[in-house]
Symmetry: C2
Subunit: 231 residues, 2 copies
Protein backbone atom coordinates (compact mmCIF):
# COMPACT_ATOMS: atom_id res chain seq x y z
CA UNK A 1 0.00 0.00 0.00
CA UNK A 2 2.88 2.29 0.65
CA UNK A 3 4.49 1.31 -2.58
CA UNK A 4 2.64 3.98 -4.51
CA UNK A 5 3.75 6.65 -2.10
CA UNK A 6 7.33 5.48 -2.15
CA UNK A 7 7.36 5.27 -5.92
CA UNK A 8 6.03 8.80 -6.25
CA UNK A 9 8.29 10.28 -3.62
CA UNK A 10 11.42 8.76 -5.08
CA UNK A 11 10.59 9.47 -8.70
CA UNK A 12 11.87 12.42 -10.61
CA UNK A 13 9.00 14.81 -9.95
CA UNK A 14 10.71 16.21 -6.91
CA UNK A 15 13.28 17.80 -9.15
CA UNK A 16 10.59 19.95 -10.68
CA UNK A 17 9.50 21.47 -7.42
CA UNK A 18 10.81 23.05 -4.29
CA UNK A 19 11.89 19.68 -2.88
CA UNK A 20 14.68 19.31 -5.39
CA UNK A 21 17.49 19.83 -2.92
CA UNK A 22 16.39 17.08 -0.58
CA UNK A 23 18.65 14.05 -0.54
CA UNK A 24 17.54 10.42 -0.34
CA UNK A 25 17.65 10.36 3.44
CA UNK A 26 15.52 13.44 3.66
CA UNK A 27 12.99 12.01 1.24
CA UNK A 28 12.83 8.90 3.42
CA UNK A 29 12.30 11.18 6.38
CA UNK A 30 9.41 12.83 4.57
CA UNK A 31 8.00 9.52 3.44
CA UNK A 32 7.39 8.40 7.00
CA UNK A 33 4.52 10.84 7.42
CA UNK A 34 3.59 12.34 4.08
CA UNK A 35 0.39 11.25 2.41
CA UNK A 36 -0.79 11.21 -1.16
CA UNK A 37 -4.28 12.70 -1.20
CA UNK A 38 -6.86 13.06 -3.92
CA UNK A 39 -9.50 15.76 -4.20
CA UNK A 40 -12.39 16.30 -6.60
CA UNK A 41 -13.79 19.49 -8.12
CA UNK A 42 -15.02 21.94 -5.49
CA UNK A 43 -13.53 20.04 -2.57
CA UNK A 44 -11.81 22.18 0.03
CA UNK A 45 -8.14 21.50 0.74
CA UNK A 46 -7.82 24.03 3.53
CA UNK A 47 -9.91 26.93 4.65
CA UNK A 48 -9.46 30.53 5.65
CA UNK A 49 -9.34 31.11 9.43
CA UNK A 50 -8.79 27.43 10.12
CA UNK A 51 -5.56 26.02 11.50
CA UNK A 52 -3.45 24.05 9.07
CA UNK A 53 -1.33 21.10 10.04
CA UNK A 54 0.84 20.89 6.95
CA UNK A 55 1.42 22.01 3.44
CA UNK A 56 0.74 20.48 0.04
CA UNK A 57 2.76 19.91 -3.08
CA UNK A 58 0.53 19.53 -6.11
CA UNK A 59 1.06 16.48 -8.31
CA UNK A 60 -1.85 16.91 -10.73
CA UNK A 61 -4.93 19.04 -11.27
CA UNK A 62 -5.67 22.70 -10.68
CA UNK A 63 -6.43 24.50 -7.45
CA UNK A 64 -7.70 28.02 -6.80
CA UNK A 65 -6.64 30.01 -3.78
CA UNK A 66 -8.89 32.82 -2.70
CA UNK A 67 -9.63 35.17 0.14
CA UNK A 68 -13.15 35.96 1.22
CA UNK A 69 -13.60 39.67 1.85
CA UNK A 70 -15.79 41.32 4.43
CA UNK A 71 -18.90 41.48 2.25
CA UNK A 72 -18.54 37.80 1.40
CA UNK A 73 -17.10 38.32 -2.05
CA UNK A 74 -14.19 36.13 -3.00
CA UNK A 75 -10.99 37.23 -4.59
CA UNK A 76 -8.95 34.56 -6.37
CA UNK A 77 -5.29 35.50 -6.22
CA UNK A 78 -3.74 32.29 -7.46
CA UNK A 79 -4.43 29.35 -9.73
CA UNK A 80 -1.97 26.63 -8.87
CA UNK A 81 -0.81 23.83 -11.12
CA UNK A 82 1.32 20.71 -10.61
CA UNK A 83 4.58 21.01 -8.68
CA UNK A 84 3.56 24.22 -7.01
CA UNK A 85 3.36 24.29 -3.24
CA UNK A 86 0.32 25.35 -1.23
CA UNK A 87 -0.14 26.46 2.32
CA UNK A 88 3.45 26.68 3.47
CA UNK A 89 2.91 30.29 4.50
CA UNK A 90 0.54 29.43 7.32
CA UNK A 91 2.59 26.43 8.32
CA UNK A 92 5.75 28.46 8.72
CA UNK A 93 4.16 31.43 10.42
CA UNK A 94 2.15 29.14 12.73
CA UNK A 95 -0.95 31.17 12.01
CA UNK A 96 -4.37 30.09 10.75
CA UNK A 97 -4.72 29.97 6.97
CA UNK A 98 -5.37 33.38 5.49
CA UNK A 99 -7.09 31.97 2.43
CA UNK A 100 -9.11 29.06 1.17
CA UNK A 101 -7.91 26.52 -1.38
CA UNK A 102 -10.43 24.56 -3.40
CA UNK A 103 -10.21 22.33 -6.41
CA UNK A 104 -10.87 23.46 -9.97
CA UNK A 105 -9.70 20.27 -11.67
CA UNK A 106 -9.51 16.96 -9.82
CA UNK A 107 -6.09 16.72 -8.26
CA UNK A 108 -3.62 14.70 -6.32
CA UNK A 109 -1.35 16.31 -3.78
CA UNK A 110 1.45 15.30 -1.49
CA UNK A 111 0.69 16.35 2.05
CA UNK A 112 3.67 17.32 4.19
CA UNK A 113 3.09 17.71 7.94
CA UNK A 114 4.25 20.82 9.71
CA UNK A 115 6.98 19.34 11.85
CA UNK A 116 8.74 17.75 8.88
CA UNK A 117 8.73 21.00 6.96
CA UNK A 118 10.08 22.94 9.91
CA UNK A 119 12.80 20.44 10.52
CA UNK A 120 13.91 20.42 6.90
CA UNK A 121 14.04 24.20 6.72
CA UNK A 122 16.23 24.35 9.79
CA UNK A 123 18.60 21.60 8.75
CA UNK A 124 18.91 22.00 5.01
CA UNK A 125 20.09 25.44 3.98
CA UNK A 126 19.65 24.82 0.28
CA UNK A 127 16.08 23.77 0.85
CA UNK A 128 15.43 26.86 2.99
CA UNK A 129 16.87 29.01 0.25
CA UNK A 130 14.66 27.36 -2.35
CA UNK A 131 11.57 27.92 -0.25
CA UNK A 132 12.62 31.50 0.32
CA UNK A 133 12.94 31.97 -3.39
CA UNK A 134 9.47 30.56 -3.96
CA UNK A 135 8.08 32.93 -1.36
CA UNK A 136 9.97 35.85 -2.90
CA UNK A 137 8.74 35.03 -6.36
CA UNK A 138 5.16 34.88 -5.16
CA UNK A 139 5.71 38.16 -3.38
CA UNK A 140 6.98 39.77 -6.52
CA UNK A 141 4.03 38.43 -8.52
CA UNK A 142 1.71 39.73 -5.90
CA UNK A 143 3.23 43.20 -6.03
CA UNK A 144 2.97 43.24 -9.81
CA UNK A 145 -0.65 42.23 -9.54
CA UNK A 146 -1.43 45.04 -7.11
CA UNK A 147 0.21 47.57 -9.38
CA UNK A 148 -1.87 46.34 -12.28
CA UNK A 149 -5.06 46.41 -10.32
CA UNK A 150 -4.35 49.96 -9.30
CA UNK A 151 -3.60 51.12 -12.80
CA UNK A 152 -5.33 48.98 -15.41
CA UNK A 153 -8.93 48.78 -16.53
CA UNK A 154 -11.08 45.68 -16.15
CA UNK A 155 -10.93 45.24 -19.90
CA UNK A 156 -7.13 45.12 -19.84
CA UNK A 157 -7.04 42.81 -16.87
CA UNK A 158 -9.46 40.38 -18.45
CA UNK A 159 -7.48 40.29 -21.68
CA UNK A 160 -4.35 39.68 -19.68
CA UNK A 161 -6.01 36.93 -17.69
CA UNK A 162 -7.02 35.07 -20.84
CA UNK A 163 -3.46 35.24 -22.14
CA UNK A 164 -2.12 34.10 -18.79
CA UNK A 165 -4.50 31.14 -18.66
CA UNK A 166 -3.41 30.03 -22.11
CA UNK A 167 0.25 30.41 -21.22
CA UNK A 168 0.09 28.70 -17.86
CA UNK A 169 -2.43 25.91 -18.46
CA UNK A 170 -2.22 25.45 -22.20
CA UNK A 171 -4.86 24.40 -24.72
CA UNK A 172 -6.33 21.09 -25.86
CA UNK A 173 -6.44 19.67 -29.38
CA UNK A 174 -9.28 22.07 -30.28
CA UNK A 175 -7.30 25.08 -29.11
CA UNK A 176 -9.62 25.43 -26.13
CA UNK A 177 -8.10 26.56 -22.87
CA UNK A 178 -7.44 23.56 -20.65
CA UNK A 179 -8.67 25.42 -17.62
CA UNK A 180 -12.41 26.02 -17.43
CA UNK A 181 -13.67 28.63 -15.03
CA UNK A 182 -17.19 29.85 -14.37
CA UNK A 183 -18.02 33.47 -15.21
CA UNK A 184 -18.06 34.18 -11.51
CA UNK A 185 -14.61 32.68 -11.06
CA UNK A 186 -13.26 34.77 -13.91
CA UNK A 187 -14.79 37.82 -12.24
CA UNK A 188 -13.21 36.88 -8.94
CA UNK A 189 -9.77 36.69 -10.52
CA UNK A 190 -10.08 40.00 -12.30
CA UNK A 191 -11.81 41.63 -9.36
CA UNK A 192 -15.06 42.70 -10.92
CA UNK A 193 -18.74 41.73 -11.24
CA UNK A 194 -19.76 38.67 -13.23
CA UNK A 195 -21.94 40.79 -15.50
CA UNK A 196 -18.92 42.84 -16.48
CA UNK A 197 -16.98 39.70 -17.38
CA UNK A 198 -19.87 38.45 -19.48
CA UNK A 199 -20.18 41.73 -21.34
CA UNK A 200 -16.47 42.01 -22.02
CA UNK A 201 -16.22 38.38 -23.13
CA UNK A 202 -19.01 38.81 -25.65
CA UNK A 203 -17.36 42.04 -26.76
CA UNK A 204 -14.12 40.15 -27.36
CA UNK A 205 -16.10 37.47 -29.14
CA UNK A 206 -17.92 39.87 -31.44
CA UNK A 207 -14.56 41.38 -32.38
CA UNK A 208 -13.24 37.88 -33.18
CA UNK A 209 -10.51 37.99 -30.55
CA UNK A 210 -11.89 34.87 -28.87
CA UNK A 211 -14.51 32.22 -29.33
CA UNK A 212 -16.68 30.99 -26.49
CA UNK A 213 -19.13 28.19 -26.04
CA UNK A 214 -20.07 27.78 -22.43
CA UNK A 215 -16.92 27.59 -20.39
CA UNK A 216 -14.79 26.58 -23.33
CA UNK A 217 -12.69 29.48 -24.52
CA UNK A 218 -10.51 29.67 -27.63
CA UNK A 219 -8.13 32.55 -28.16
CA UNK A 220 -8.33 33.47 -31.85
CA UNK A 221 -6.26 36.63 -31.94
CA UNK A 222 -3.49 36.71 -29.39
CA UNK A 223 -1.94 39.87 -30.81
CA UNK A 224 -5.17 41.79 -30.43
CA UNK A 225 -5.45 40.79 -26.80
CA UNK A 226 -1.85 41.75 -26.18
CA UNK A 227 -2.58 45.09 -27.73
CA UNK A 228 -5.49 45.61 -25.37
CA UNK A 229 -3.24 44.86 -22.42
CA UNK A 230 -0.87 47.43 -23.83
CA UNK A 231 2.48 45.77 -24.36
Amino acid sequence: MNSEKARILHSSWKNQCVLRHLNADEIDYLEETTEIRRYKRNEVIFMQEKRVSGCYVMLSGIVKQFKTGVEGRDYIFRLAKPFEILGFRSVLSEEPACNTSTVIDDCTVCYIPKDRLHHLVKTNGEFALDLLQVACRELEESHSLITEMAQKSIRKRLAELLLMLQYKFGVNENQQLNIMLSREELANVVGTATESVIRLLSEFKSERYIDISGRKIVILNEKALEKIVGL
Copy 2:
Protein backbone atom coordinates in the same frame (compact mmCIF):
# COMPACT_ATOMS: atom_id res chain seq x y z
CA MET B 1 35.92 54.77 12.66
CA ASN B 2 34.55 51.28 12.86
CA SER B 3 33.59 51.80 16.44
CA GLU B 4 30.22 53.20 15.52
CA LYS B 5 29.45 50.25 13.31
CA ALA B 6 30.58 47.76 15.91
CA ARG B 7 28.58 49.48 18.61
CA ILE B 8 25.44 49.45 16.52
CA LEU B 9 25.85 45.89 15.33
CA HIS B 10 26.40 44.53 18.80
CA SER B 11 23.71 46.56 20.51
CA SER B 12 20.27 45.30 21.23
CA TRP B 13 18.55 46.49 18.05
CA LYS B 14 19.23 43.25 16.28
CA ASN B 15 16.76 41.57 18.60
CA GLN B 16 14.00 43.68 17.17
CA CYS B 17 14.56 42.58 13.62
CA VAL B 18 15.12 39.56 11.49
CA LEU B 19 18.72 39.23 12.64
CA ARG B 20 17.72 38.18 16.13
CA HIS B 21 18.85 34.60 15.81
CA LEU B 22 22.39 35.44 14.78
CA ASN B 23 25.02 34.67 17.40
CA ALA B 24 28.05 36.79 18.26
CA ASP B 25 30.27 35.04 15.74
CA GLU B 26 27.77 35.61 12.98
CA ILE B 27 27.44 39.27 13.88
CA ASP B 28 31.22 39.55 13.67
CA TYR B 29 31.03 37.85 10.30
CA LEU B 30 28.49 40.41 9.16
CA GLU B 31 30.47 43.26 10.63
CA GLU B 32 33.40 42.62 8.32
CA THR B 33 31.50 43.91 5.32
CA THR B 34 28.30 45.60 6.42
CA GLU B 35 28.09 49.35 6.23
CA ILE B 36 26.02 51.92 8.04
CA ARG B 37 24.60 54.27 5.42
CA ARG B 38 22.62 57.47 5.66
CA TYR B 39 20.12 58.80 3.15
CA LYS B 40 18.16 62.02 2.94
CA ARG B 41 14.60 62.69 1.75
CA ASN B 42 14.06 61.65 -1.86
CA GLU B 43 17.38 59.83 -2.20
CA VAL B 44 17.20 56.48 -3.95
CA ILE B 45 18.34 53.40 -2.05
CA PHE B 46 17.89 51.00 -4.94
CA MET B 47 16.06 51.16 -8.21
CA GLN B 48 13.71 49.03 -10.26
CA GLU B 49 15.42 47.06 -13.05
CA LYS B 50 18.86 47.62 -11.58
CA ARG B 51 20.96 44.87 -10.05
CA VAL B 52 21.24 44.94 -6.30
CA SER B 53 24.33 43.83 -4.41
CA GLY B 54 22.84 43.51 -0.99
CA CYS B 55 19.92 44.19 1.28
CA TYR B 56 19.20 46.79 3.93
CA VAL B 57 17.98 46.74 7.49
CA MET B 58 16.45 50.06 8.47
CA LEU B 59 17.70 51.69 11.66
CA SER B 60 15.81 54.98 11.48
CA GLY B 61 13.62 56.99 9.14
CA ILE B 62 10.91 56.02 6.68
CA VAL B 63 11.27 54.54 3.20
CA LYS B 64 8.71 54.04 0.45
CA GLN B 65 8.88 51.10 -1.94
CA PHE B 66 7.07 51.46 -5.22
CA LYS B 67 6.75 49.96 -8.66
CA THR B 68 6.57 52.08 -11.77
CA GLY B 69 3.88 50.82 -14.11
CA VAL B 70 3.89 50.86 -17.87
CA GLU B 71 2.34 54.32 -18.22
CA GLY B 72 4.89 55.73 -15.80
CA ARG B 73 2.57 55.90 -12.85
CA ASP B 74 3.96 54.74 -9.54
CA TYR B 75 2.29 52.44 -7.11
CA ILE B 76 3.55 52.51 -3.52
CA PHE B 77 3.04 49.11 -1.95
CA ARG B 78 5.02 49.55 1.22
CA LEU B 79 6.09 52.17 3.72
CA ALA B 80 8.93 50.76 5.76
CA LYS B 81 9.97 51.81 9.24
CA PRO B 82 12.94 50.96 11.50
CA PHE B 83 13.96 47.32 11.88
CA GLU B 84 12.25 46.26 8.72
CA ILE B 85 14.35 44.73 5.96
CA LEU B 86 14.48 45.96 2.38
CA GLY B 87 15.59 44.36 -0.84
CA PHE B 88 16.24 40.82 0.31
CA ARG B 89 13.83 39.51 -2.31
CA SER B 90 16.05 40.50 -5.21
CA VAL B 91 19.17 39.45 -3.39
CA LEU B 92 17.88 35.94 -2.79
CA SER B 93 16.37 35.43 -6.20
CA GLU B 94 19.46 36.85 -7.91
CA GLU B 95 17.23 39.00 -10.10
CA PRO B 96 17.23 42.75 -10.69
CA ALA B 97 15.16 44.76 -8.23
CA CYS B 98 11.49 44.75 -9.09
CA ASN B 99 10.80 48.01 -7.34
CA THR B 100 12.36 51.28 -6.32
CA SER B 101 13.03 52.34 -2.73
CA THR B 102 13.34 56.01 -1.90
CA VAL B 103 13.45 57.98 1.31
CA ILE B 104 10.43 59.68 2.88
CA ASP B 105 12.13 60.64 6.15
CA ASP B 106 15.91 60.85 6.48
CA CYS B 107 17.15 57.45 7.44
CA THR B 108 20.07 55.27 8.43
CA VAL B 109 20.31 51.72 7.24
CA CYS B 110 22.59 48.76 7.70
CA TYR B 111 23.74 47.44 4.36
CA ILE B 112 24.32 43.68 4.15
CA PRO B 113 26.11 42.36 1.07
CA LYS B 114 24.64 39.51 -0.90
CA ASP B 115 27.21 36.84 -0.15
CA ARG B 116 26.90 37.27 3.62
CA LEU B 117 23.14 36.99 3.48
CA HIS B 118 23.29 33.87 1.34
CA HIS B 119 25.83 32.26 3.60
CA LEU B 120 23.84 32.95 6.73
CA VAL B 121 20.64 31.58 5.23
CA LYS B 122 22.38 28.37 4.31
CA THR B 123 24.17 27.86 7.60
CA ASN B 124 21.69 29.14 10.18
CA GLY B 125 18.34 27.40 9.99
CA GLU B 126 16.71 29.63 12.57
CA PHE B 127 17.73 32.68 10.61
CA ALA B 128 16.39 31.16 7.39
CA LEU B 129 13.12 30.41 9.13
CA ASP B 130 12.88 33.99 10.40
CA LEU B 131 13.49 35.37 6.93
CA LEU B 132 10.92 32.99 5.54
CA GLN B 133 8.42 34.21 8.08
CA VAL B 134 9.10 37.80 7.12
CA ALA B 135 8.57 36.94 3.48
CA CYS B 136 5.40 35.04 4.30
CA ARG B 137 4.02 37.87 6.36
CA GLU B 138 4.67 40.32 3.54
CA LEU B 139 3.01 37.89 1.17
CA GLU B 140 -0.05 37.68 3.35
CA GLU B 141 -0.22 41.49 3.62
CA SER B 142 0.10 41.73 -0.09
CA HIS B 143 -2.75 39.31 -0.68
CA SER B 144 -4.96 41.19 1.74
CA LEU B 145 -4.15 44.39 -0.06
CA ILE B 146 -5.09 42.93 -3.43
CA THR B 147 -8.38 41.68 -2.08
CA GLU B 148 -9.15 45.12 -0.72
CA MET B 149 -8.22 46.83 -3.93
CA ALA B 150 -10.51 44.49 -5.81
CA GLN B 151 -13.44 45.04 -3.53
CA LYS B 152 -13.28 48.37 -1.75
CA SER B 153 -13.94 51.92 -2.95
CA ILE B 154 -11.28 54.60 -3.01
CA ARG B 155 -13.07 56.29 -0.16
CA LYS B 156 -12.76 53.20 2.01
CA ARG B 157 -9.15 52.64 1.07
CA LEU B 158 -8.18 56.21 1.87
CA ALA B 159 -9.90 56.04 5.26
CA GLU B 160 -8.10 52.81 5.93
CA LEU B 161 -4.77 54.28 4.87
CA LEU B 162 -5.12 57.17 7.30
CA LEU B 163 -5.82 54.75 10.14
CA MET B 164 -2.91 52.58 9.11
CA LEU B 165 -0.53 55.54 9.01
CA GLN B 166 -1.56 56.57 12.49
CA TYR B 167 -1.18 53.04 13.81
CA LYS B 168 2.14 52.31 12.18
CA PHE B 169 3.94 55.65 12.42
CA GLY B 170 2.15 57.29 15.31
CA VAL B 171 1.44 60.97 16.02
CA ASN B 172 3.43 63.87 17.47
CA GLU B 173 2.53 66.02 20.48
CA ASN B 174 -0.07 67.86 18.39
CA GLN B 175 -1.76 64.63 17.34
CA GLN B 176 -0.45 65.12 13.82
CA LEU B 177 0.59 62.00 11.91
CA ASN B 178 4.35 61.55 12.13
CA ILE B 179 4.53 60.56 8.51
CA MET B 180 3.98 63.32 5.99
CA LEU B 181 3.17 62.36 2.44
CA SER B 182 2.39 64.52 -0.57
CA ARG B 183 -1.07 64.25 -2.11
CA GLU B 184 0.48 62.40 -4.98
CA GLU B 185 2.12 59.91 -2.64
CA LEU B 186 -1.17 59.31 -0.86
CA ALA B 187 -2.77 58.74 -4.26
CA ASN B 188 -0.03 56.31 -5.20
CA VAL B 189 -0.62 54.26 -2.09
CA VAL B 190 -4.36 54.11 -2.53
CA GLY B 191 -4.06 53.62 -6.26
CA THR B 192 -5.97 56.62 -7.55
CA ALA B 193 -5.53 60.10 -8.98
CA THR B 194 -4.23 62.94 -6.82
CA GLU B 195 -7.38 64.95 -7.48
CA SER B 196 -9.48 62.15 -6.02
CA VAL B 197 -7.38 62.13 -2.87
CA ILE B 198 -7.71 65.88 -2.51
CA ARG B 199 -11.46 65.75 -2.91
CA LEU B 200 -11.90 62.93 -0.44
CA LEU B 201 -9.58 64.52 2.11
CA SER B 202 -11.52 67.78 2.06
CA GLU B 203 -14.71 65.76 2.29
CA PHE B 204 -13.36 64.03 5.41
CA LYS B 205 -12.31 67.41 6.73
CA SER B 206 -15.67 69.06 6.19
CA GLU B 207 -17.27 66.17 8.05
CA ARG B 208 -14.82 66.72 10.93
CA TYR B 209 -13.25 63.29 10.63
CA ILE B 210 -9.82 64.77 10.13
CA ASP B 211 -8.05 68.10 10.16
CA ILE B 212 -5.52 69.04 7.52
CA SER B 213 -3.09 71.88 7.09
CA GLY B 214 -0.73 71.19 4.24
CA ARG B 215 0.76 67.78 4.76
CA LYS B 216 -0.01 67.68 8.44
CA ILE B 217 -2.97 65.46 9.13
CA VAL B 218 -4.80 64.97 12.41
CA ILE B 219 -7.34 62.22 12.84
CA LEU B 220 -10.23 63.69 14.83
CA ASN B 221 -12.76 60.89 14.65
CA GLU B 222 -11.23 57.45 14.44
CA LYS B 223 -14.56 55.69 14.87
CA ALA B 224 -16.04 57.48 11.90
CA LEU B 225 -13.15 56.45 9.69
CA GLU B 226 -13.41 52.88 10.89
CA LYS B 227 -17.06 52.96 10.03
CA ILE B 228 -16.26 54.13 6.53
CA VAL B 229 -13.84 51.24 6.12
CA GLY B 230 -16.65 49.01 7.28
CA LEU B 231 -15.44 47.05 10.29
